[in-house]
Amino acid sequence: MHILVCIKQVPDSAQIRVHPVTNTIMRQGVPAIVNPYDLYALEEALRLKDRYRGRVTALCMGPPQAEVALRKALAFGADEAILLTDRAFAGADTLATSYALSAAIRQVHRSLPIDLVFAGKQTIDGDTAQVGPGIATRLDMQLLTYVSKIVSLDLAAREIVVHRRSEGGVQVLKTRLPALVTVLEGINEMRFASLTDMFRAERHPLTIWNKDDARIEDATKVGLKGSPTAVSKVFAPTPTNRRAEIIETHGGQPIDLAATLVAKLFSSRPDVAFAINPSLTPDRRSL
């Protein structure tokens, strides 16, 4: 069994700040991390490997520094790590990203056939959840998004059964391999690598591919050139000039504060009052 996991290195968006005056991103010192959602995908792949044996390959498209993300994948137990890096990829949107990644996956597949491709639910910087479906479509693989559980994998019959989170419930889906799975958060807990694994990860030679190595012939399909979308404007959200009305009472006892708030809500916010007590109005869904 061979699973390929797509991981992306992203800036830790919790630490990104926007300059209040100039509205520019201040990226100084913002650490890069492995997209947290991708770690669930990696762990799930590793669990399947533990169960069925086989190999896990981690693939990341990014700048040379993204090596760190791949080393992490290796430490957790990935067997191979490929960094897809080329100046030509800069400025790619999801369509161009999925093009480059699927070319690389095809290339991996040529040397060792792939049964499953795993991706995260979404990235925390792009946040689009489009790259997974994009890769599946390009590689003509069955697509299983928002997978919350892998129920069974039958390598002989080349079938996989999963739970897929959908609106209002969970779909139990069966499909044929090769398939692309995007993994929902919280499905598992990441392992803690042993010191031996850490050593191996540090020493393992990374495979570094440029666009030719990935056999990308059409350079107009990658990077900025291959991106149908473009950012025309970046701006800060208009701040609400609202400042909460702070409830205060004499003595500030919780019960008095609470009673004051409740009275206020019911007297000045009829909509809220109706929501709390529908009997107050016949039609509260009219808005």
Binding site: V21, Q28, G29, L195, T196, E202
Partner: protein
């Protein structure tokens, strides 16, 4: 795990990185272990980088190290509640390459350094904490980490794990840190657009300014404040002896808040956004606080060995130098086929004695004591000095001579003439 290394370096701060780099460059089999997510992720520093120490390790570091600004101007400010008096040294000389001092952001700088260590051939393992030293009798033979299969062995272990050095304390190489020997520093980074920084500090390109501050800002505690300009941010911080913080009950962040509100400092930060707040200890006990720095199978470098020159706010350069010299000691013994025993490793201490490290540490060995015993340096004098300046600079019809007399009176009123002389003498002695 039975793998054996020539040397294990604990910590990836400037001391550890210098040691690991030097060892690996010499072809030794080196393992470096860092508990942070990456080298620099946990490190706090002002930060000023002194070129000389790094140049001796990586001569062409300027080519790709993440340097913020080169320092062309140093201001020394003495602050009273409302006012500020001080001196500025700015020299065109400082703007001639190669530059002597730079501001840096440690998390980025350390990461760069760590990459150099890796490229030199050391095995660098992060997110791994060394819990214990493995001993064979009195001899350190390896370390135990918090990971599964977490023990690993080496001929020598270099402890570069910073001021707290839990390991050295656990192993009994060092006593508990005394609150009077460490300063607690808090600092913040405030982001500002490059243009604003250049305008506010009268600099251009990669020029930078350093401001050292003393006076009322430390509210009578032994300590100083600092402000450094980075490319797109300003670092501001203040540090005081831990023992003083304890005694005064002042919260470190409250101290920093107050300092930022000072009318001289506030406009320098206006409009910026605070990004990170960090607190860290600085060993300031000086020469007298330096513990044993070598023993059977181990060496200690950087903050772990209390190598900080508090007067000149030098630490990273001492860390780099001690790290390098420790490594060179090991390399030499290895080449001679000698075991890493205490008598042989004593060469480390000897080499340091001959370097600026011990010479400087010795020179200022009495400073901590003098500062501690002469609180007026942090209370009365700043007030008096700024009063004097105000008196002199206020044009109000009073003749200058009368003014001078008033100033003199103010000084001797606060301290006897003898006291003043004694203070001057003490200071001179301490720094001389």
């Amino acid at each position: 795990m039975s793998e054996h290394f020539d040397a294990i370096v604990v910590g990836a701060g400037p001391a550890g990185n210098s040691a690991a780099y030097t060892l690996a460059k010499a072809g030794l089999k080196v393992l470096q272990i860092e508990r942070g997510e990456y080298s620099g992720s946990k490190n706090v520093q002002g930060a000023i980088l002194y070129s000389d120490a790094l140049e001796k390790i990586i001569p062409d570091f300027r080519e790709d190290a993440p340097l913020e600004r080169h320092v062309i101007e140093q201001r020394m400010w003495v602050l009273d509640d409302e006012s500020c008096i001080g001196g500025t040294y700015r020299s065109a000389d400082f703007s001639k390459p190669p530059y002597n001092r730079y501001t840096i952001i440690r998390s980025q700088f350390d990461r760069w350094f760590s990459k150099k260590v890796r490229d030199a051939g050391a095995l660098v393992v992060c997110e791994t904490t060394v819990l214990d030293l493995h001993m064979d009798g009195r001899c350190v033979v390896g370390v135990r980490t918090d990971r599964e299969n977490g023990s690993v062995y080496a001929d020598v272990v270099i402890l570069a794990d910073g001021v707290n050095s839990v390991l050295a304390r656990k192993a009994g190489f060092r006593g508990e840190l005394k609150p009077k020997d460490v300063a607690l520093a808090v600092k913040e980074i405030h982001f500002l657009p490059e243009q604003t920084i250049e305008d506010r500090f009268n600099i251009k390109g990669t020029e930078g300014v350093v401001i050292e501050m003393a006076g009322k800002i430390t509210q009578g505690m032994v300590g100083t404040g600092f402000l450094y300009t980075n490319k797109e941010s300003v670092t501001i911080g203040v540090g005081c002896l831990l023992s003083d913080f304890k005694k005064s009950g002042i919260a470190p962040y409250a101290l920093l808040e107050q300092m930022k509100a000072h009318p001289t400092i506030k406009p320098l930060l206006a409009g910026g956004e605070m990004k990170e707040y960090t607190a860290h200890l600085i060993p300031e006990g000086g020469y007298n606080a330096i513990p044993a720095i070598y023993g059977d199978g181990w060496l200690m470098a950087g903050d772990a060995g209390m190598f900080v020159n508090a007067v000149h706010r030098e630490g990273s350069n001492l860390a780099m130098t001690t790290g390098r010299v420790a490594a060179e000691t090991v390399i030499a013994l290895k080449a001679q086929g000698k075991p890493m025993t205490a008598p042989h490793l004593a060469a480390y201490r000897k080499a340091l004695n001959h370097s600026f490290v011990m010479k400087d540490m010795k020179k200022y060995k009495d400073v901590p004591e003098v500062m501690d015993k002469n609180r007026q340096f942090f209370t009365d004098y700043p007030r008096l000095v700024s009063q004097a300046a105000r008196t002199l600079l206020t044009v109000d019809g009073v003749d200058k001579k009368t003014k001078e007399r008033a100033i003199r009176k103010a000084f001797t009123g606060a301290r006897s003439t003898f006291g003043l002389f004694a203070d001057a003498f003490k200071l001179w002695r301490a720094f001389e």
